[in-house]
């Protein structure tokens, strides 16, 4: 199979539809670039608002991605491997943030973890700790919207995993946790990385849940997407400049990680 190359033209139907598909993503990018005030770009990007937002965005999105990893991998394992009643319901609830409007998610977080929230109120009464309007509020909002991407990716990998290696390790006396650590995790590492990157990317672009749950204050809770939103209503040049920073950072990371991480273990 592998040695034989069949020279054949690509079916034009696929190429045509694929090109239109690509245009959906390329055109808005072109629009953004044509509106970019190149001569003032440096000055706009170096402003306090943008620098503060960039730092905060990187910090909170990376934190959110790693918290998603820490909690999401065990969750994915439980969903993939343990047969418990109501598993389908739990899985549906876990993936809900992927379809829920983020603003609704943010409001729901407020009802649960806010100062008057179901859990937030007792915590605040006992410790004085408050999530909304704080950096941790941004992280929680990010985890809420980002973790499902990691869970779905990792659970898919766990389900498709050939169970023989795990079974062999268990036969040789490894405990279930050891099997998970030494066999399962290494075998699904391409999916782990992909899920981590997806979760990070989703967290970086997160707007609705953050603005609803964590508010909007420069230097504390104003991430890049929030700064874009505010700037769009004040000064379009700044908004376009910030968006370009967001696009540049995301593209750089996605391209870099694709080369480093996804090239082996996948067919790309």
């Amino acid at each position: 199979m592998s040695g034989r190359r069949i020279r054949q033209r690509a079916p034009w139907q696929l190429v045509a539809l694929g090109s239109i598909g690509a245009a959906v993503f390329v055109l808005p990018l072109v629009g953004l670039i044509t509106r970019t005030p190149w001569s003032r770009l440096g000055e706009l990007v170096a402003s306090d608002v943008v620098v503060d937002a960039l730092k905060l965005s990187l910090l909170t999105s990376v934190l959110a991605a790693f918290i998603s990893l820490l909690l999401g991998v065990p969750l994915a394992w439980v969903l993939a491997r343990i047969n418990f009643p109501g598993r389908h319901i739990v899985r549906a609830i876990v993936t809900l943030p992927m379809v829920l409007p983020p603003v609704v998610g943010g409001a729901a977080l407020l009802f649960a973890l806010g100062r008057r929230g179901v859990i937030g109120e007792p915590i605040n009464d006992a410790t004085g700790f408050l999530l909304p309007f704080s950096v941790w509020g941004v992280v929680v909002a990010n985890v809420f919207v980002a973790m499902p991407f990691l869970v779905v990716t990792v659970e898919g990998a766990l389900r498709n995993l050939d169970g023989r290696h795990e079974a062999a390790a268990a036969t040789l006396g490894a405990s279930r946790l050891t099997v998970f650590r030494r066999i399962t995790l290494p075998m699904i590492s391409p999916s782990l990385r992909a899920g981590l990157v997806l979760a990070w990317a989703r967290a970086l672009g997160e707007f609705g849940a953050t603005v609803t749950f964590a508010g909007n204050l420069q230097g504390r809770t104003q991430t890049l997407p929030l700064a874009v939103f505010v700037a769009l209503e004040q000064d379009r040049d700044t908004a376009v400049a910030i968006s370009l920073v967001l696009v540049a950072v995301s593209l750089a990371v996605l391209l870099l990680l694709r080369d480093r991480w996804w090239s082996h273990g996948s067919t790309s």
């Binding site: 407020l110 408050l130 909304p132 603005v211 505010v230 209503e233």
Partner: protein
């Protein structure tokens, strides 16, 4: 799987068809209105449609700055009602309206959750870093007016969040997540879950709402009919019910 996809596709097509035909022959007039006008304009819409059954009013309610952006980018709107003169001026400058007419006025109040849990009594309390204080962002009128009031009072507020529009701010006050904020008097009247504290008498922030028929209105006659209705005795009475004052 294949069955599921087919069902979904069929369902989508049915939805598309039903939303296209609509079964509603009324002509529509698209009104862009600042979010602080929400309740008053919903009342006006109801009264206007009762008086003009052949016209369907569609309200697009958002922060004035978002509306400005949509109008300048060519949204097919007929009427624009702004929460401040400068946003309306920007619309006129962009050539999207020829002239505008003031149709209502408003005042500011400090708003606190019902029962005033943080015991806010004065605008100076907004400087307390222990309180959770929210304002509207500077990009929207309610944020600009609030800052004018704070400047006049000589108070540097300890701000915890700048909300995108006045409704978002009111929602967080209603939920008790913020201790205090500065909103319009009309918002306090509209919400049973917040209470208002008057600003000191020496603070004078002029808040005037202008309305205009847009030059690119697809239905200029209908737009004019709605515009006249807002300025009529009936329209003005509905605005007064919502707490607006004369411009």
């Amino acid at each position: 799987m294949r069955n599921g996809v087919a069902t979904l596709a069929a369902f989508t097509i049915v939805l598309l068809l039903s939303s296209c035909s609509g079964g509603d022959d009324r002509e529509t007039v698209l009104v862009m209105a600042a979010s602080s006008l929400t309740d008053a304009f919903i009342e006006i819409e109801t009264a206007f449609e009762a008086a003009n059954p052949e016209i369907d009013v569609q309200l697009n309610l958002a922060g004035s700055a978002s509306l400005l952006e949509q109008i300048v980018q060519g949204a097919p709107a007929d009427v624009f009602a702004s929460a401040n003169a400068s946003t309306m001026q920007a619309v006129v400058d962009a050539g999207a309206a020829n002239t505008s007419t003031p149709f209502a006025g408003n005042t500011l109040q400090i708003a606190v959750p019902l029962g005033n849990p943080a015991n806010v009594s004065d605008i100076a309390d907004l400087a307390d870093p222990d309180l959770l204080v929210g304002l509207c962002g500077e990009q929207v009128p309610c944020g600009q007016f609030a800052r004018q009031a704070l400047d006049q009072a000589g108070v540097v507020a300890s701000i915890d969040t700048n909300e995108g529009d006045v409704r978002a701010l009111v929602t967080k006050l209603e939920a008790g997540e913020l201790d205090a904020g500065i909103v319009y008097a009309t918002d306090v009247i509209a919400s049973p879950e917040i209470e208002g504290i008057a600003l000191p008498a020496n603070i004078d922030v002029a808040i005037t709402y202008p309305i205009a028929v847009l030059t690119d209105s697809p239905n200029p006659d209908l737009a004019r009919t709605f515009f006249d209705f807002v300025l009529s005795a009936r329209g003005q009475a509905l605005l007064a019910d919502a707490g607006f004052i004369a411009p």
